[in-house]
């Protein structure tokens, strides 16, 4: 089985692995560590001012000289154009855009020589991405920690449908942490994987130690996709989650949910370690993560396990016994 596309060439990386850009979690340190380990390292710009983004990019480039670094940009962010300028000024080549129309900036970025990847959660949006001229898509399943689409398509059903709909490279995301899951994603037709929660659960991520400890001990049902009518997010089941559920179970309005959410809750939870009042975002796969390796040790183990897998079927067909 040879993939239709080589994303290692597209991103100039050793392994077909993208470390997901995550708010509050993937700054310079994690992106550089992932890049040094042979992956594409993404800085999550969604939680950064243009000034802070500038600092993180410069720092990451210093920590991982010559390695492949990119930025994840949620397009709904008000200072998005300043952020794009910061990236271009720092010679960032790899742009992962999400939460907005792929039509908006793709041509502009491509003219500047960038490689543009858009995040999608449905075959329909994947087609729009292709029409907009992106270089690849991330197809993200329901189990992902990121912002999911309304259709709730899981990685298992989403990836083959996206692969059958477009002819671009497809990067699978959602529920991928170990070699079994990466191999499964490649079987589904993906050309590479984007890994979020597992990279959040490494020494170099900026997630607070308390948060990492909580996730290390969390059960398989640690998360639930919530606030679907506002902005869908997969929440870890803490006290804040309980308040959200209570509102949702009582048919709260969007405004009531917005009021509860307030400002800065994700920062409070994930970066500052307030496990009670903070908003804690994670993928469903965190239930099976119970250690905290360095990014490099994790990637080495993943690749070694992947190389030891071999899948070859020879079931008897008609006529054979």
């Amino acid at each position: 089985m040879s993939p239709r596309h080589d994303i290692c060439s597209l991103f100039n990386i050793k392994y077909p692995i993208v470390q997901a850009g995550m708010v509050w979690v993937s700054g310079a340190k994690l992106a550089a560590a992932a890049a040094n380990a042979g992956c594409l390292g993404l800085i999550g710009a969604g939680s950064m001012s243009p000034e802070l983004l500038d600092q993180h990019i410069k720092k990451a480039q210093k920590l991982a000289p010559g390695k492949s670094l990119g930025v994840n940009l949620p397009l709904l962010y008000s200072k998005i154009e300043e952020q794009i300028k910061v990236c271009l000024d720092n010679n960032i080549k790899y742009f992962f855009t999400s939460a907005g129309s792929p039509k908006k900036y793709t041509s502009f970025l491509k003219e500047k020589g960038a490689v543009v990847v858009h995040v999608t959660s449905s075959p329909l949006l994947a087609k729009k991405c292709e029409d907009a001229g992106v270089d690849a898509v991330v197809a993200e399943g329901f189990e992902a920690g990121g912002h999911n689409g309304k259709d709730e398509l899981t990685t298992m059903t989403l990836i083959p449908q996206v692969v059958d709909t477009i002819s671009l490279p497809v990067i699978a995301a959602g529920g991928i942490a170990d070699a079994r899951q990466m191999a499964a994603a490649l079987c589904l037709g993906a050309n590479g994987v984007q890994i979020g929660s597992r990279f959040m659960m490494t020494k170099e991520s900026s997630a607070h130690d308390h948060y990492k400890k909580l996730l290390q001990d969390s059960p398989s049902n640690a998360t639930e996709l919530c606030m679907k009518d506002l902005v869908a997010v997969r929440l870890v089941k803490n006290e804040f989650y309980k308040k959200v559920k209570e509102l949702e179970n009582n048919c709260a309005t969007k405004d009531e949910l917005k009021n509860l959410l307030g400002k800065g809750r994700a920062k409070k939870g994930m970066l500052e370690g307030d496990l009670i009042e903070g908003e804690l975002e994670a993928g469903q796969v965190v239930g099976m993560l119970n250690d905290l390796p360095t990014a490099n040790d994790y990637v080495k183990k993943l690749i070694s396990e992947l190389n030891s897998l071999a899948l070859q079927f020879s079931y008897p067909t008609e006529g054979e016994s």
Copy 2:
């Protein structure tokens, strides 16, 4: 990669494939067709009186003499003990139980020489199944059409966790229709797969022709998991679904939902073809099914595609360029 367990031996079948027992859809005709194609064919007893079940078993045994046939028994059914008696009287050996405690009948059935498999949606319940002495489990992800667990674990995250929790054979279900998905499930550590919606979409299933036609033309987001507080079911988005959603969006009580549901809606929809007022159950994967082969043609194609897949990784490790 060799599986830990050989479910072909366990069920005396050619391929590690179980055709799911589905209400109103998998009677004698489908179970026999699947069994004749080299799979384990299951009669879905959940929609049958003991008398009707008796007829279907006898008919299936006549249509597929000497082949492997079993029954899916939802344990919450009021006439469950009569159904079990009917199965044993007809020398049924393979029992797939669901919707109830695996402790209740497993010992009894095992003493009668049966092979008992219980359906689970979490690693925790899988452990209880193992403790109850079952021979294998079906681990069913969120994307399945069957009744899903509250934890909403997808096939991608569920299977590896169940495999790591118990030492029994694990049969993956949810989102599996083509060779890519079957290979992915085996990569995740499953020893075989249970396939539902794809078998519903064959010539031999008892689903009404109108229903099959609707699904053939349905988009990727054709279904949604609904009625989670009552009895979770993945509904096709028809007029009845809209009424359910309206109630749910208005925080309806369980009784209001029960009243809307009434009696016989699933039969009306799936068997009798009332696409407006009927309850239509299906897995998320139906969005990618757009033909209607015989069960045998489908299985032949699946196995041929599976045999042509080969997965072998040789990524460079540290030190290599």
